[in-house]
Every structure is written in structure tokens, then in C-alpha cells.
């Protein structure tokens, strides 16, 4: 079960003809899929499209009612291969994942799919994880569209445009026999807005029909000699068909403006930022009425030559607002205009930065530069740009002053995270055996690369932690350590990492973090999730799986918070004479999800009068000497610092705040690392039993007697 529930929101998916939908962009996409008569949906979670998967998982009833099949794919490759159902059958299918990492994984299937082509509409919803808030390398999905020749939609970031893009994508796919990608940037996925709904559509041709009446068409299979035909077909039939559809349906939009000797070409997704940039330069109003003509590309691949030729007619210069690099569109437009022998000057990356997100500020500056160069008369006269006004001076002074006082806040492990003790143990092993090469993976455990742990040298992709250490497989005084999450393990790590290590007789150590969820993407279930799930097969053991592919040294630690055990097991793995890969499965439930699960239960139990014990830790300020080594071995958000109450001391003391969930790590670490006696564990018993109360009274009597003696002595001193 995902950490965010959409049980309420999914009711919006039932809205009928002409009603108003209010909600998040990604939820609107889901509604648009149902309005388009989709037969199946699959995907792999990851920001910013995790919510799409979570919504669908919570909407199972509605989907079943419409005859829509939904799968949580094992990987993006699985999701992409799922679209094979649309190759021979008139079935509309949609898949989703984050890009470019997901598209990388999916590209084998996507290339095969795009080669043979599709019969039913095939839509790939891409969460373009680019710019601020991104968690991956900065690349563009555009390259994948070009290499496999799939069409790429980049709709304006408002709900009606996004919904329309989904609906037209299926038709575009069907008329051109080509899979279509629709990209949504992070902020568009999360944008809250509204649109007028249509009734949901039940697919006319169902999956049952396909299963019961199988069809095949040799010409669609990606195998020579058909592949040669496919390539020609792409250019001779599918491309023209797509271009015609885009033109006929006016998927791209033209906006006139009085300054018609210049113009701006913009990716649909950047339309709002461009309008705002024009508005702040005094060239547009809040309703998008612009002095400068605009050509908005809701379809960024293929480019429609004729539309460019039309837009550039009579214009001395255009500005292309294209986010990211390389500047594929700008390069293509140069070719288009050259071939058509049109002399319009093309600006783009000379006015806007080559790399980085096109935020409001960036586009504002770029547009101003373009206007200044081509039509300076349009800019308001009294803009003494170079002059530093007193207000501007204040702004600069303030920014400069705070600069040294603002630290980065990279993501870190949550309060009580079961992964933290793994790295605490690694730091302790480092003290004894020296440092080791650590190959990191993708997942929450990658936060280890930041302080306080500073562990991990490389990360090569999801599930590729062990694979990333495969070259370091020679006789040496030390072994390499690889990390892998349970999500990455099932995604591909079992074969790419574990199987590979067995086959190549690797001696390295692999730690698999088994927290029961695909935690970093929002707590979705995976094959080894601890709890039963009515619609998915969970509770499959990772240890059994690794033994199944030939690992002989495998140990599961069922309580990662036992730092000493963790440390000793890791030490053993690093020193044992047994050949082959050494696999440690560190198995404790993701604390974020555990708290979400048990908090309501505990609250209810307490309300019903049942005995509930809550544990939390604390630090005695009078024995804490303010060295903070405990924090350096933990970094827990609830383990922080506070002003020293002792007037003689200056260093802040360590303090445990009330968000502590009592995971026990502080105690374990102070024992394992022999830190200090300042930590205490407090157990708060709600609704104590009679026995509890009796014990408490007895203890209070005896302890009270001695404490009164202590007080008398103190008073006498």
C-alpha cells in the first residue's frame, strides 16, 4: 500500500459528461485515460508520476467496472513491453514512468514496439524529471522520440490542454501506427487546476476478445527482413500520417500579435512561463494576449515543416524557447528554414541558457534579450536596467548577508529509518578494517553519500549497485561492498547484480536493504513486501531468491537496529574465507510506512483503554559534553542540538525531540561505539494495568525514600 492514499480523490474519476473536475494534473491524466476508452494501463512508480500509479492502484474498483486492466510492472522495460498488446489488436493502452531513467530501461521494448508499429493507440506518459526537485541526471526524453521515431507531445501545463493531449494522443497513435509519448514536467504533474469532464468510455474491443481470438501479423515483428520494411514505413507512411493529423487537428497553436515581424516558438510545457515573461516585460496581459506572435508546439516531435514556414513568413527573427540540451528543435528548425530558403534569423540558445530549467526568471531574461535585440521599441522606455536603485541595493545586501548562513539541506534518512543503522555499522567497521570501496544504488539508501555517513563512490542506476562493483573482482586485501534496495533487487538487481556475481565468481559483499516497500518512490508494494495484498503477490523472500540463483553465503538480519550484529555480520562477510558473493539482507520495515500503519492503530487502542507503550529516547543534558559523535553516527532528524543549559559550557548539547519513534538506534550506537552514558529510553505506558500501577507505587515508595535522602544531603552541602 502506498504511503499516500487516494481513496477519496479517485471518486473524481467517476465524474460524468460536463462536470467540473478539480485536482492535481496527474489525476486529470488518469481521468483522461478513462475518457479515451483505454483497455490497460501499466507502469513503474517514480517521481513525478508515482501518484498516477497510486491513484490507479486505489481506483481498482472503478477500473474493473470499466473493464480496464492495471498492472504494477516489474520495471519500465516490463511496462513498455506491455504495450505489445496494442500491436495486433485495436486495444488502447497506456504506460507511465519517470524519464529519462525509466525510458533508458524501457528503450529495448520501445524500439521494438516502434519498429513494428501499433494497431491500437499506445501512449507512454512520461514524467520528465528535469530541473528543480529532480532526483536524476539531467537529460531529455526528446532523444528517445527521435531515435525510435515515436511522437512526443508536450502540452501546455493546464488541465484542459493536458486532457486534450491524452485524448488526441491515442488517435494520433492509431492513424500513424506509432507509439506516442506525452511528457509532463514536475510542476505540471503537481499542478492543481480544473477541467470539464466527459463520460468514461468502456473499450469496444476488450482484452478478453484478444485472448480468445488471437491474431498475428508477421509484418509487425521486428526481425529481418521486416525491420528493413519498418524503417522505410516509418519515413514513407507513418511520419506523413502523423504530420497530417497534427496539422488537421491543429494540435499546435498559433497566437497572433501586433509585432508580427518577430515571433516566439515555444514548447507547450513552457507556454505559461513564456507568457509570464512577456507580461513582466510589458508585452502581454494576464490572459495570454501577447504583442509578440506565438507558435506553441504541443507536439515537439515530429516538427511540422509547413507550420514553421507559415509562422516565419514575413518575420525577421524568431526566438525558440526550448528547455534542456542538446538543442534538438533549434537545430531542426535551422534545417527546415534552410531547406525552404527562408531568411528568418533563429534565436534560441544564444539568448537562453543551454542547460538548466527554464524557470520564470530565466525565460523573463531571455525574452527581454530577444526583444531588446530585435524590437527594442517594444520595451517600456524608462527601464534603467544598469542603474542600481536603493531597493535593488537592499535586495543584494540582504542576499549577501544570509549567504554564509544558509546551508544546503540534502535529503536524508527519515526519523527512525531502519537503513541508518546499516551505515552506522559500516562506519564502525571502517574504524576496524579501514575504508572499503562502496558501490551505491538508487533508493533511499543513496542518502548515505551525504553527511553524516559519506559512504558510497558511484551509482550506476536502479538495481545496479552490485553490477557497479563487478570490475573490482580480483584477489586483493579488501573486498568491495555493494548496496542494493529491495525495489532495485526485483527491478533487475537479482540478475544484473546477484546472478552476475555468482556467475563471475565474485568475492564481493552485497547488502540488500529489505524495507518492505519501494520506499523512495512513495511506499508502493513489491514482491517481497511483508504484508499480504489482495491484488498482488507479496511476501516472497529475497534470501530464497538469492540462494535460488546460486548464492551460498546469505544472511538475513531481521532487526537492522542491532548495530553490533550488523557490524559483526558485515565484518564476517568482509573476512570469511568462503568463496562467492556474500549477501546480507538487512530486513526491517520502512519507518515512514510503519508509522503510517501503526499510529492510527495505537491511537485507537489507547482510546479504547488498552495498554499502549510508547518508547522514545532522550539525552541528559548534564552528562552530555556536546561532542555530537552520536549525531555523526546517526543523523536522525529527531536527534538534534539545543542550547546548553549549563552556564559553564558553550557547545550546544544533543537533544532528542518528541518526534522520536524509539527505534532504539541511539542506544545501540552508544553501546556499540562506546559513546557516552547520556542516552536514556523512556517508556510511556498509557492505560497501565493494575500490575503496572502496583509496581509503580512500590517503586515510587522505595526510590522516593532514597531520593529524599539525596535531597537532604544536597541541601546540607
Amino acid at each position: 500500500m502506498a504511503e499516500r492514499s487516494f481513496k477519496e480523490e479517485v471518486q473524481k474519476l467517476k465524474l460524468g459528461e460536463g462536470e467540473e473536475f478539480h485536482g492535481e494534473g496527474i489525476l486529470a491524466v488518469t481521468k483522461a485515460l478513462l475518457q479515451s476508452g483505454v483497455s490497460y494501463v501499466a507502469g513503474y512508480q517514480g517521481a513525478p508520476i508515482s501518484h498516477l500509479m497510486d491513484v490507479l492502484a486505489d481506483a481498482s474498483e472503478i477500473l474493473e467496472g470499466l473493464g480496464v486492466h492495471f498492472e504494477n510492472s516489474a520495471s519500465e522495460a516490463t511496462a513498455a513491453a506491455t504495450l505489445a498488446a496494442s500491436v495486433n489488436y485495436p486495444l488502447r493502452g497506456a504506460i507511465t514512468f519517470k524519464s529519462t531513467v525509466g525510458t533508458n530501461v524501457a528503450s529495448d521494448a520501445l524500439a521494438n514496439l516502434a519498429s513494428g508499429g501499433v494497431t491500437g493507440g499506445a501512449l507512454i506518459i512520461i514524467g520528465e524529471d528535469y530541473g528543480e526537485g529532480s532526483s536524476i541526471m539531467q537529460e531529455r526524453v526528446h532523444a528517445f522520440a527521435m531515435k525510435s521515431q515515436m511522437w512526443l507531445l508536450d502540452p501546455r501545463p493546464n488541465l484542459p490542454s493536458i486532457v486534450r493531449a491524452v485524448e488526441t494522443a491515442f488517435e494520433l497513435s492509431e492513424v500513424s501506427n506509432t507509439p506516442v509519448m506525452m511528457m509532463m514536467r514536475i510542476r505540471a504533474c503537481h499542478v492543481y487546476g480544473r477541467f470539464t469532464t466527459k463520460a468514461n468510455k468502456r473499450p469496444e474491443f476488450g482484452l478478453t476478445d484478444a485472448l480468445e481470438n488471437p491474431r498475428r501479423d508477421l509484418s509487425r515483428i521486428a526481425m529481418p527482413p521486416m525491420t528493413y520494411v519498418h524503417e522505410k514505413d516509418k519515413w514513407e507512411k507513418r511520419w506523413p500520417a502523423a504530420v497530417k493529423y497534427v496539422e488537421d487537428q491543429r494540435l499546435n497553436e498559433f497566437f497572433d500579435g501586433e509585432a508580427n515581424d518577430i515571433g516566439i516558438v515555444v514548447q507547450g510545457g513552457l507556454y505559461n512561463s513564456t507568457i509570464r515573461a512577456l507580461m513582466l516585460n510589458g508585452l502581454a496581459d494576464a490572459f495570454g494576449e501577447s504583442k509578440v506572435p506565438l507558435y506553441v508546439m504541443n507536439v515537439t516531435y515530429p516538427l511540422v515543416d509547413k507550420e514553421f514556414v507559415r509562422f516565419c513568413a514575413g518575420k525577421k527573427a524568431i526566438l525558440i524557447v526550448e528547455e534542456g540540451q542538446p538543442d534538438y528543435i533549434e537545430q531542426a528548425v535551422n534545417t527546415i528554414l534552410r531547406r525552404a530558403d527562408i531568411q528568418t534569423r533563429i534565436h534560441g540558445k544564444d539568448m537562453l541558457p543551454m542547460a538548466g530549467e527554464y524557470t520564470g526568471a530565466v525565460v523573463r531574461a531571455g525574452v527581454a534579450k530577444f526583444i531588446e535585440k530585435t524590437r527594442p521599441d517594444l520595451l517600456p522606455a524608462a527601464l534603467p536596467a544598469a542603474e542600481v536603485t536603493p531597493l535593488k541595493q537592499r535586495e543584494v545586501t540582504a542576499a549577501k548577508a544570509v549567504d554564509s548562513q544558509v546551508h544546503g539541506r540534502p535529503p536524508s534518512f527519515c526519523t527512525g529509518c531502519p537503513e541508518r543503522p546499516i551505515f552506522a555499522a559500516m562506519k564502525l567497521v571502517e574504524r576496524e578494517l579501514g575504508s572499503h570501496h562502496v558501490s551505491a544504488d538508487i533508493g533511499c539508501h543513496l542518502f548515505s553519500i551525504f553527511p553524516p555517513f559519506n559512504v558510497g563512490a558511484t551509482t550506476m542506476g536502479y538495481g545496479l549497485g552490485a553490477a557497479g562493483a563487478s570490475a573490482l573482482n580480483v584477489r586483493a586485501g579488501k573486498r568491495a561492498i555493494a548496496m542494493m534496495g529491495d525495489g532495485g533487487f526485483w527491478h533487475n538487481g537479482l540478475t544484473s547484480g546477484v546472478g552476475n556475481a555468482v556467475f563471475n565468481k565474485s568475492d564481493n559483499v552485497l547488502i540488500i536493504v529489505d524495507n518492505g516497500y519501494s520506499a523512495a518512490t512513495g511506499g508502493q508494494d513489491i514482491p517481497s513486501s511483508f504484508h499480504a495484498n489482495a491484488s498482488r503477490g507479496t511476501q516472497n523472500s529475497i534470501e530464497k531468491a538469492v540462494r535460488g540463483v546460486g548464492v551460498t553465503w546469505a544472511k538475513t538480519i531481521n532487526h537492522t537496529y542491532d548495530v553490533a550484529l550488523m557490524r559483526d555480520t558485515l565484518k564476517e562477510a568482509l573476512t570469511t574465507k568462503e568463496p562467492g558473493p556474500k549477501v546480507i539482507i538487512a530486513h526491517s520495515e520502512c519507518m515512514l510506512n510503519k508509522q503510517r500503519r501503526i499510529r492510527p492503530l495505537l491511537r485507537k487502542a489507547a482510546q479504547q483503554g488498552q495498554r499502549v507503550v510508547r518508547e522514545r529516547f532522550g539525552v541528559d543534558a548534564d552528562t552530555c559534553t556536546g561532542d555530537h559523535s552520536c549525531i555523526r553516527l546517526s543523523g536522525c532528524p529527531s536527534l538534534t542540538i539545543a542550547p546548553n543549559p549549563d552556564p559553564l559550557r558553550r557547545e550546544p548539547v544533543t537533544k532528542v525531540i518528541n518526534s522520536c519513534v524509539g527505534c532504539g538506534l541511539c542506544g545501540e550506537v552508544s553501546h556499540a561505539a562506546v559513546l557516552c552514558p547520556s542516552f536514556y529510553r523512556a517508556s510511556l505506558i498509557t492505560n497501565p494495568t493494575g500490575w503496572d500501577k502496583f509496581k509503580a507505587r512500590l517503586r515510587a515508595a522505595v526510590i522516593g525514600f532514597f531520593q529524599r535522602r539525596i535531597e537532604r544531603k544536597l541541601a546540607a552541602a
Binding site: 504511503e3 517521481a47 514536475i186 510542476r187 503537481h190 499542478v191 492543481y192 505559461n272 508585452l283 502581454a284 496581459d285 494576464a286 490572459f287 494576449e289 504583442k291 523573463r364 531597493l391 545586501t397 540582504a398 548577508a401 544570509v402 548562513q405 544558509v406 544546503g408 539541506r409 535529503p411 536524508s412 534518512f413 527519515c414 553527511p451 523512495a520 552528562t623 559534553t625 556536546g626 559523535s629 555523526r632 543523523g635 542540538i641 559553564l648 559550557r649 557547545e651 550546544p652 541511539c666 542506544g667 553501546h671 562506546v674 559513546l675 552514558p677 536514556y680 529510553r681 523512556a682 510511556l684 505506558i685 497501565p688 503496572d692 517503586r699 522505595v702 526510590i703 544536597l714 552541602a717
Partner: protein, 507 residues
Amino acid sequence: MTASPERRPITIAILAMGGEGGGVLAEWIVDLAERGGYIAQMTSVPGVAQRTGATNYYVELFPKTGGQSNLRAPVLGLTPVPGDVDIVIASELMEAGRAVQRGLVTPDRTTFIVSTNRVFSMTERIALADGRVDSSVLLEGCRVAAKRLIHGDMAQLAEATGSVISAVLFGALAGSKVLPMQRMAFEAAIHRGGVGVKESIAAFAAGFAAAESGPAPVKAPAPAAENVSASLAPLMAEADAYAEPARTFVRAGIERTADYQDAAYARQYLDRLKAVADADRRYGDGSGLLLTETARELALGMSYEDTVRVAELKIRPSRFERVRQEVQLADGQILEIAEFLHPRVEEIADTLPAGLGRWLLNSGWPRRLLARFTQKGMVLKTSTVRGFLMLYMVAALKPTRRRSLRFQTEQAFLEDWQRRILAIAPANYALAVEIALTRTLVKGYSDTHERGRERYATLMQMLPQIAERPDAAATLARLRKAALADDTGAALTAAIREMRPLSQAAE
């Protein structure tokens, strides 16, 4: 051209950290605006915010009134544009600083609502001593950058009302009166939200009041009741002869040492200070810094944390009361306290009479045997009779402390330290102050303590070399800072290497 400059959206940026309810706050604002005749758009960059990172939300509101808007929807932005943000709400002071750093807060436009509480960054928390940034600089930066600054400790208000900070901030937004909606409309949005309404409304009210009246004046902590026992009165009288700022620390030192051992020990403390006070008078610059810092460090050095001290502090009634408050024990709940202790052979030997302790440390099998038993730490429940009495008995060893091995070691250490101070003071007062301060390296327990001792010893060995330099005091201060830069000692080694060529050049 229909562009009219006054027709623009109200722009609101919210900077928060994961789990603070920044999303709820944004949703309230959207709901408030939609009911109040506005078109609202909100978006966010949550990223991996749930995992403690910085996060931000962006909301734009556009009035529905006017003929034109009935026909067409406005084009609303998805990213805040520096210079064009009307309201910035920051749930923490460093995040407020980040908003200023990013240029979101501008003096011509921005109403800046800031919670001044601190959620310390990792860099601040993992420092070996004090790594905190300067809050006053952050707040001043906010004041300079904003058109109007509304600030207060909203986290504290949230805690006081049993709610979350987002509700207090929503109240502060209402109280700022920067949005054209009435207070009741804000409260209605909370009611419609439907979760934790009662607490949220209370928190909202607190935020509203804070925004209207400005931040509550910082209450100076009431001076602790002067309750000097008869045996300490003459000592305190002597302390009062010293000028401030030394006097406060000397008095605190007397109290500490007496509490640690007895009045005689406090007398010893005071006696030890006399020579330093004398040196301060003769060679000082009138600041009294040498006496002040020595008084402070000497008190800490004399009240080193041995097993007896730890046991004594753990069983005091005042400590039980402190724990009860810290864990927010509610009526009817029962509290159990467990300690995580790990005395090793070293700590046991330290507590023994010096001769016996030394024998144990140098012994063969007795030491090994004891080591086996003390390999693992113990969890001791102070709230049980057995656990309490065990600590009580350890604490009862206090009278034997003066004969213990650790006592001898510590006194010798302090005497050596003081000798150095007094030896340097006539020639270089500033360096003497720095030597006094360098004792601060020696703190903590076990490895931490040993590491501190080693670094202290390294610096003291270098003292003759340092003293020759023209910037002797600054050099020692720099090296001490380096010694507190990391666990491994890399920074100290680097700092020492850096100063070598200079001294060689001087030779």
C-alpha cells in the same frame, strides 16, 4: 493591446521542509481563494521532501470579477519569479534565508511571513563543538529584503496549541491582512479541511495574534533563586570580590565543584583561581578574560564525568522530573526510564583507589576477565528498585573519589594546564587565554575523551613553537578550531602542516 498592469495574479511562495504540512497550507489557501471569488492554481516541487529535504509550493490567485475573466481563463505561472512574489511564507529561519538568497523576497513587493524557529542543518548538528549559524544575521537579512516582515516562533505556538506549524502560518497570513479575505473565511477553509480542526483553529488564532501584535517579547529566564547554603556563603563572598564577567563564572564554578564533591573541593577551586586572578590583574588588558575563561574551564575540568558523577546525576529527583517534562508525560501514564551504560575496564579502574586501579590496568588475566564481562554495554532501568539501587551504590562511592586513580590523573592534568597558563601570562596574555580555552578539547567519554586528550597534548607539545610566532594566540586558536573540525584529525594535521614552513622560515 489589452494589457493593463493592475490585472495581475497574487503570487504566493511557501518554503518548508518535508512533513511540516506545507501542502496543507497551500491547499487551505487554494480553498480560501476559490470560495472568495478567485481562480487558484497551485503547484509544488516536493522532490524527496518527505525524506527531510527542503521543499516549496507556489500558488497564484486571480480575481474572477470583471467581464473579461468570465470569457477567458488567465494564464497562471508555475514558478515564482524573483521580483514578482507578493507573499513568501517560510516555516523555518534558514529556509527564510534561502528564500532571500534565491531573490524571492524583494523590498518593493514582498510580505514575508517567517517562523524564526530553527531546524538545524546536518552541518550544524554534526559539528564537534558549536557549528550553529547566526540566527540574528538571518533575521536581519529577512528584514532588509522584505517590504514587510512578520516573524515569530510559529513552531513554538504550534506546540503550545497542540497543532502543526502550517495552521499557525495560515493564521499569520490572515493576521497580516495582505489577502483581501476576512478572518472567518480563513477559518472556514480549516473547517472544510476537516482534519484536526479544533487544534488547527487554536493554532490559527495564535498565528493571527502573532501577526497582528508582532513577536512576543523574549522573556528573560527568571534568575534562579539564590539559595546558597551556609557552608558556601563565605566562598561566594570571596567570589563577589571579582569583577564581572568573571564573577558569574566563579560563582557557578563554586556551586559546581561543591555539588560535585564538597565545600572543601570548592575551596580548592577558589584557591586555584587566586594565582590566575593575580596574573590577570598584573598582565591583563582589563578585560578579565583570563580569569573568566580559566574559572569556567577549571570548574568543568574539576567536575569531570566519572562513573560516580554519572550515577549521581542519573538518580537525582530533579533528573526524574526533567525526564518527565521532556517526554511530555501525561496524567495517568506511567514512565519507565532505562539507561544505556557501557563502563569498560578503564572506567572501573578509574574509580578504584589509585594503586589498585593502576594494578588492574597493568594486570594480565584479571583485566582480561573483567574486559570479557564489560564487552557489551548494559541497559539499566533506573525506574526499577534494582536499577536505582545499583546506581545509588555507585554514587555512594563519592567520598572515596579523592583517592581514585582518575582523581589523581585529572588533578595532575589540571595543575599542568594551570602551570602553563601562569608561565605564559607574563609574556603573552592573549596566548595564556587561548591555553585556558584549549582545555575545552578534553571532553566526553572513552574514545572521544582520549581523542581530545591526544589533540590537547599535541597542541601543548607545540606550545614553545607556537609561542615564538608573532601571532601566537591566533595560531593556537586556529589549531584548536582545526582540532574540533573532524573525528579523524585530518584538519588538525593539515593545519599543523600549514604552519610548519612559517616556523622553519622563522628559524
